[in-house]
């Protein structure tokens, strides 16, 4: 592994963004806000997985990013469908 690859440094910056989005998930006043934060975390994690797979030169690791993108979509749909039937107080 070559740690001086620019993609590795990009992944570190992505990890900082993930931490900031996790703070919004902690603070967000309503449930849709938290869902938005979850969606942002998902996209950032997919991005960092693609960058890490390219930096490690492993083809199989990109497949995990594809699975992850599709499965996080299922999670988002489930939460959205539950929230559709709930009334805010």
């Amino acid at each position: 592994m070559n740690f001086s690859n620019p993609l590795f440094i990009a992944v570190v910056v992505f990890a900082i963004y993930i931490l900031i989005s996790a703070l919004r998930l902690f603070l967000g006043p309503t449930a849709p806000d938290r869902t938005v934060a979850l969606d942002t975390i998902n996209t950032l994690v997919v991005a960092s997985m693609v960058a890490l797979g390219a930096a490690m030169w492993e083809v199989l690791f990109i497949d995990i990013a594809i699975v992850y993108a599709i499965l996080s979509f299922v999670t988002t749909l489930f939460i959205a469908k539950y929230l559709e039937g709930v009334e805010a107080s």
């Binding site: 900082i16 994690v45 996080s72 939460i79 539950y82």
Partner: protein, 85 residues
């Protein structure tokens, strides 16, 4: 340049702690389920960083998609008592 890798681990584990604290702290069930989904997704990223793609796929499939789905089906059949927050 190995310290970059360690900083990466530190940041991911820190955000994992934040989401895990959110799971324990929230009184609203759906917010706790959302935080649990985020926590298990970040755990999958941590397994990926440790170069265990096998466990990462299992965690992403079971922890993120199926467990959240089952929790939401369970929450759906309860009654909501606490205020929305």
């Amino acid at each position: 340049m190995f310290w970059i890798y360690q900083i990466l681990h530190l940041l991911v584990l820190l955000s994992l702690i934040v989401t895990a604290l959110a799971v324990v702290r929230f009184k609203d069930l759906i917010s706790a389920a959302i935080s649990l989904g985020a926590s298990s997704l970040l755990l999958s990223l941590e397994f990926y960083l440790l170069r265990a793609p096998d466990v990462a796929i299992a965690e992403a499939a079971v922890g993120a998609a199926l467990t959240t789905a089952i929790y939401i089906f369970a929450i759906k059949s309860t009654e909501r008592e606490e205020g929305y927050k």
